[in-house]
Structure formats: structure tokens, C-alpha cells
Subunit: 143 residues, 2 copies
Amino acid sequence: MENTAQVGIIIVSHLDYGASILRTAEFILGPLSDCCSISVELSDQVADTVRRLDDAAKLLDKGAGVIILTDMFGGTPTNLALALLGKLNVEVVTGVNLPMLMKVFTERDKSLEEVARQAHEAGTKGIVVAGSMLRNKTKANEG
Amino acid sequence: MENTAQVGIIIVSHLDYGASILRTAEFILGPLSDCCSISVELSDQVADTVRRLDDAAKLLDKGAGVIILTDMFGGTPTNLALALLGKLNVEVVTGVNLPMLMKVFTERDKSLEEVARQAHEAGTKGIVVAGSMLRNKTKANEG
């Protein structure tokens, strides 16, 4: 049976970084649905943030699961997201950047596992040392 | 002769994403100097943004050059940054994420080329499909 629901998308980050990258994706792609950002501040009670995350993941799971993108492995936002693994149908991908987020939005009709795989691929391939790359291309063309 | 100046850091992005990730780095690392973010909006005149970028790169180059981190290859912010290559002592790394930015701030006493290499490495290694990784670890421990 094919799953016709879209994967839900949550960004968990320190401060308002998640909200900001989400606004940028929306600025480029147009209005986006079934997504949210959750900000983790030092002053927040951990229990309160876990509850907000848990609520959001349940709300956004329309049958295809939820991908949680976090700012950095080892940080509190990531650790709180990891606590949901095994309890809800979620996958956590760390180190969110714009290429990853754009890919997740355009491929969210795939399975959760596949969306996570593509998030990883788009995020890493989107990191390019541009000057070095362009110099190498120029050398190759001259060689 | 050893270069004692630090590499300058600029983030160029759509909207306020650059300012937001910079605030997050500052929240974690404490006050940061010789860095700035430049926001590119559709309504901005391209010439004006190029001038702001050019001014910032000149101001932040204390002798060790400037690394420009951008949100996404192919986007206007990246294209404007690439226009500075060859004219000023800058390197451009696309797909900025928090692990990359943290690394750049902690390694900025290295050469510009080395900072760019480490930015790429930290950015890509910081992208992890955490659930999949943890499940594989569990399997390996059981196997």
C-alpha cells in the first residue's frame, strides 16, 4: 500500500535559528505546510521543550512520520530530539543547512527513511569550497 | 613569516538567516569579533549588496583574508559572494550550518585555505542521520 501522506518537518535549534531558516525556505519555495520550528533557550525548562516537541511530532505525523532537523550534534536541541527516537515515528538529522531543508520540502512525499537519506546527501553535497572548486575547474580546462 | 591576524568571517544569506546563525554561535561561544552577516532580499539593488559585501570584506581583512559563508550554491547571496573571488583575498564556502560556523570561529587563526578546508569538513561531518546511526551502533554491539 502506497503512503500518500507527506512527511512532517520540524526544526529544533538554539534560539530563533530554526524559525529563520524556515522563513528563508518559505521565501524561496512559497508557503509551506505541516512544518514548524522549535527554539531551545537555556532558560527553558527541559521538560517543557520535550513536551512541545512531542506535541509537534504527534500533530505533524499524518501517517508518514516526521523528520526532525537539528542545528548541531551534541547540542541540547539535538539531545531533546533524540529522546523521541523509538517512541514516535521520527528520524533526526543534525547539522541542518538550506540545501538540506529545501530537499526535505521537495521530497517529503517519499518514505521517512528516504527523506532522511536525501536530507543527508543534499546537506553534504551543498557544502562546497567554491573558490577552490572554480580554480580547479579553470586548471582542468587549461590542462 | 607567520600570520598572526585572524581570518575575518562574513555570512551572506537570504533574509535574516545569517544574522540568526551568527547569534546562535555567539550564544554558545560568547562574544565574537571581526564577523558580520549580510542579508540579501529580492528588493535589494544588486549593486548595493555587492558594495556592502565589498566594504565588509575589506574591513574584516586584517591580513589573513576573509571567509564568506553562504546559504546555498546557486542562490543570489552565493553568486554575489563569488563575484569577490580573485578581486579580494576571500574564500567562499556554501551551505553554512552551525557545525561549520563553530569550527570557523575556533580555527580562524589558521590560513584562509586551511579554515575553508576545515569549514567543509566540519560542515559535512556535522550532518548525521542520528536514528539510523544509533540503530547501526546497537546492531554492531549485538552482532
